[in-house]
Point group: C2
Chain length 232, copies 2
DNA sequence: CGGGACTTTGAAACCCTTCAATGCCAGTGG
DNA sequence: CCACTGGCATTGAAGGGTTTCAAAGTCCCG
């Protein structure tokens, strides 16, 4: 294991983030004018658990993690957000999770929830889009439930790689650039870091995946990755 | 362990289910006229995975489980629905889970999704309510993610009892009537049936809970149940 | 060049799953 | 009425997978 992924990814040289939003098709297109654009440092908190839920967010670039802190101090990640995903539109007046930027230079569009709700009242199409956003969040949660419900660690890690491969836009060829650390993966899959690392090693030794850098995974045997032929 | 819970619960003698809906405050109140009322047999399928998602549902009485069948034949339960919960409002044109009645005599209100969507277009208030329904589904999913993320079986079972105690309407005193079998609990918590049974026994021996019938749990030491003082 | 974050590997302890068997209860048919 | 069956629940023992504790290696960055 030699090269690693960069801890930060260069942002658009000119800082003209708004163009990124304009050039991207997404549900709240008609709200582009309402959006504030924000670039985040690595690890920066975007919204905090039990704080007033004033804003909704759209990921333009980078990766965001939604976490919950347990009583015992353990952290659980209840979702990753990648470009194209919305978050922050919650049921109550307070967020029930903390969101943090995973990558340096993560770029978000920020909306005022109150304003969005008002506009939706007079725009049925926008209202439908908001429902669609909520439904997609439900689908993501259910997908994660299915991953967490798997029995063995190797199965969970397999599913994780496949999920990232599906959701990440920046995949080229058969490679996936895992955008998060082993610790993040562990807290996402409810495993220990060591088990995550060992599971990846197992998959490598089986010839299912290959590494070109710690976080660069090449999918060698897609069937084995999907079907789990070793029935782990 | 002597007495058990009844496998079926008597329905309203007269079968006048619609009154149940009318007497219940809920989000889609204004759609009561649009709703069809249905009573289900134990185990009856309500909607099926990969089938057209034509309807949305509201649980008036009883319990519903949302399940997904795995490639390996295992079943995973991705949610229980109790009176007051909506389900079936999904992102795609097809359901991504199968819903089944858990209790004999489970009563549902059924809505035509297409019709509901149309009405929402001309009724901003209804549109807001639909979003609220979606947000609540998200909250339920996240709560389940937190349960599945717990480390030990006893912790998961503790959380399950507390969740049921919170969500079920028919709790009297400090007792919870677990509405589902050990098998259902196991598939919900991603544990084996035996482990669920053993965990309940552990909690009983610790004096945290007491049984009056297999499915009737009395909470003796609430603090221990909530905080997990034995730090399992 | 050294500190710090991240990653990997090893060994022991622990917990859960699996396999197997028993017990309980409700409904059924002789 | 009672034996019988099937579904559900509990308990035991063995095996295996994950966690925990410990340590070493890698890489980035100041």
């Amino acid at each position: 294991m030699k090269a690693t992924a960069p801890r930060s990814i260069p942002t658009t040289g000119q800082g003209n983030y708004r163009d990124l939003l304009r050039n991207q098709p997404h549900l709240l297109k008609r709200l582009d004018g309402e959006a504030t654009i924000m670039s985040c440092r690595r690890g920066q908190a975007i919204c905090r658990q039990n704080h007033p839920a004033k804003h909704g967010y759209f990921v333009i670039f980078g990766v965001v993690r939604r976490c919950v802190l347990r009583a015992d101090g353990r952290r659980q990640i209840v979702g990753f957000l990648v470009p194209g995903d919305f978050f922050g539109f919650v049921a109550r007046d307070e967020y029930n999770y903390t969101a943090e930027a995973v990558l340096e230079g993560t770029i978000l569009a920020i909306y005022l929830r109150r304003r969005v709700e008002e506009l939706a009242d007079s725009d049925p199409c926008l209202a439908r889009e908001l429902r669609q956003i909520a439904f997609e969040a439900i689908s993501r949660s259910q997908a994660q439930l299915l991953i967490l419900g798997r029995i063995t660690a190797v199965e969970k890690v397999r599913s994780f790689i496949l999920e990232m491969e599906t959701r990440l836009p920046q995949r080229r060829g058969h490679s996936v650039a895992l955008p998060v650390s082993r610790y993040d993966i562990a807290d996402y899959l409810a495993l220990s870091v060591e088990t995550v690392s060992r599971s990846l090693t197992v998959l490598k030794h089986r010839g299912v995946i290959k590494f070109s850098g710690t976080r660069m995974v090449e999918i060698v045997d897609r069937d084995a990755l999907e079907d789990g032929e070793h029935e782990d």
